[in-house]
């Protein structure tokens, strides 16, 4: 169980965050959550999919990072090989305090069990005067953006449901080694339904700012071949 602590200059004066991106650092994930506000930046690099969480009765958006459990094809030589890192991954190992989700109130928590923590290597959180470093300032900003967008995303997914714009994805991926991987449990934008929407439905989506992320999610599908190419390169070069 992760051990979360409230971040303070006094207790984390010498704490550094190792910038390395690797499975050992906890980055070995097949997919990760993205929020609608970052679809525009994510669609350059990732395949954006939707996933129904039945237990919690909500839909989330994710980006696909690999095909097998624990496989993140964007990890390369200790770096995250993409121009954009999803917010959820970028803010690791920080999170917003559970009992006070208002980031402006300073409730930034840190996962004390994260392998990213070090006293010698990486980036400091506080400078010698106890002020947040530019790195931590950036993290706090991203945490705020993530939190705001995540909570606002309920409306986006409600709109998708209202207009019945999601359909289950059935996809078979043939790889260079002859194997066929099946992607199951994801949903994508139903393109036919989207095209058939009438003017008032489009107006409804547009007014609430949902049209842009819908099209960004659609556009992101062009990244699938690139993801398969990453997988094949790995299969070929070991």
């Amino acid at each position: 169980m992760a051990q979360h602590a409230i971040l303070t200059p006094a207790t984390h004066a010498t704490t550094r965050i190792v910038p390395e991106r690797s499975v050992a650092m906890g980055d070995g994930l097949t997919s990760c959550l993205v929020v609608p506000d970052e679809f525009r930046r994510a669609q350059h690099e990732y395949l954006i999919l939707f996933r129904r969480d039945i237990a919690r009765d909500r839909t989330d958006a994710v980006v696909l990072l690999g095909f097998e459990t624990g496989e993140n094809l964007y990890l390369k030589d200790g770096r995250w090989d993409a121009r954009y890192i999803p917010l959820v991954m970028d803010v690791q190992p920080f999170l917003i305090g559970r009992f006070a989700p208002d980031v402006a109130g300073g409730q930034v928590h840190i996962d004390m069990d994260s392998p990213r923590l070090s006293d010698t290597e990486g980036t400091l959180l506080f400078d010698v005067d106890g002020q947040p470093t530019p790195y931590l300032e950036g993290v706090i900003e991203k945490l705020g953006a993530l939190d705001t967008s995540y909570r606002a995303s309920e409306e986006f997914f409600a709109a998708l449901r209202r207009h019945d714009l999601l359909e289950p994805l059935t996809l078979e991926v043939a790889l260079a080694d002859g194997s066929v991987n099946q992607l199951v449990g994801f949903q994508v934008i139903d393109e036919d339904r989207l095209i058939d929407l009438d003017g008032s439905a489009l107006d409804d989506l547009h007014r609430d700012g949902h049209l842009m992320p819908i099209f960004m999610a659609l556009a992101s599908q062009s990244n699938l071949p690139a993801l398969i190419a990453r997988k094949n390169a790995e299969l070929t070069h070991g």
Partner: protein, 542 residues
Amino acid sequence: MPGPHRRGGGASSNKDATRQVADGTETRSIVIVGGGTAGWLSACVLAARIGEVATHPVDITLVESPDVPTVGVGEGTWPTMRCTLRQIGLDEAAFLLECDAAFKQGSRFDGWRTGAADDRYWHPFVPPPAVDSRALVAGWQRHGGGRAFADAVSPQPAIAALDLAPRQRDMPGYAGALNYAYHLDAGKFAALLARHGAGRLGVRHVRDHVVAIVRSATGDIAAVSTRDHGAIAGDLFLDCTGHASLLIGGALGSGFVDRSATLCNDRALAVQVPVGPTTPIAAQTISTAHEAGWLWDIGLQSRRGIGCVYASRFMDDDGAAAVLRRYLSRAAPGIDYGTVPVRQLRFRSGHRERFWVRNCLAVGLSAGFCEPLEASAIVLIELSLDALLANFPQDRTAMDVQARRFDRLFHYRWDRIVEFLKLHYVLSRRDEPYWRAQRDPDTIPPRLAEQLMVWREQPPSQADLPHVDEIFPPASYHYVLYGMDHPAPAIPPATGEALAEPLTLLRQRTRALAASLPTQRAYFDGLRRAAAQGPASSSGLR
């Protein structure tokens, strides 16, 4: 970047050991007399780079006496060393590990203005933002937030004050977030260069004592006679024999130009103090003024080199020992002074009348020596080799012309070094007899005295230092001049607006660097761990 210039087997190059040098003879063999930093750095640089300039193969031989100990206290380099090491094909991580080296980000001068407890200024390697010198000084006064000059216009003092490394370990070798040089163990450095030069670059290494210098009928040096290897002939000789100056001073009679009237320090007591594995490693040379000279303090991974430079005219050896002891008890507590061996060095600041005579070039201490205040010894070796390679005599025909041009260039450089070192003293307000004597107008070079008058009205600029490759650029003068509290000239304040935005960016960058750079200690701990785990970074060649 050129690859290491490999030559064929060294044994075959010995065939014409008795050939005489005559006009028109191609420069096919270079003989370097003397090991140590100068000899081996010369051997490696020439072996690696001669192929860029020579129209024919050139053999490099280094004759090193097993009897003569090297001086080996030159422990500070300039940033130029990064380029030099890369050119000769050494891996930076391997170099750092083998030479017990640490990063140097400039110098800190303590006690030079008044000797008060908070009397301190920096001469960092990162220059100020590239604006006109008037805009720089006016901008510092207007937008510097009341900070001292170097602290306002360079990110480096703040970084070095935190003992941080100028780079992260995963950066490519020799790249830095901030400009840097090295502190190193000179003995280990010469040994590494010897292994690299003889093992990888095809330098022929002769371990023998030179007993005589053989002249040809024209007066050139034809060969050096050795005890066991006979005569070793060459077309061009490099005198790297240190203070002995065996070839250029001894055989060729190039006289010594004494500069001690300007730079009166003539002795040093040097110690090496081991440090614990968890102590911070200082990121700059610390130069602390004392009543009759100054102390150096240079941090390596496993030791600190500390020395007391003094003028025997103002302080006797016992007095210097007491100064050193006081410094150690304050700066390196826990050291039993009685158990640390103390070496005394005696020197006279000055240089040769000519640095290149006939077919012989002086490189290193044989060319001259000034007190080590700005670590000019090793960089002069690099500059001499750069100048030789840029003007390499393909044969004997133009060699005397090249020699005269080389002499002019290096006279200019030595003059600038002497003046720049003197600048550190003439601006002091310390009141001891030594310091008053340092300010005696009779000891100040006329050109420096003139410039000091000009600098009351305008900051140092290109106009004062017109050469393309000045050894000390205007930025160095700015750091010392305004670090020493020389009054800034009156400049219309609006001129300083050009610096407002660069200073804002610089402060942001400083904060980001302070957060992301590792301490020097953490850097080298990590480097050693990585070297112990994988062979990737432990090979000698990149």
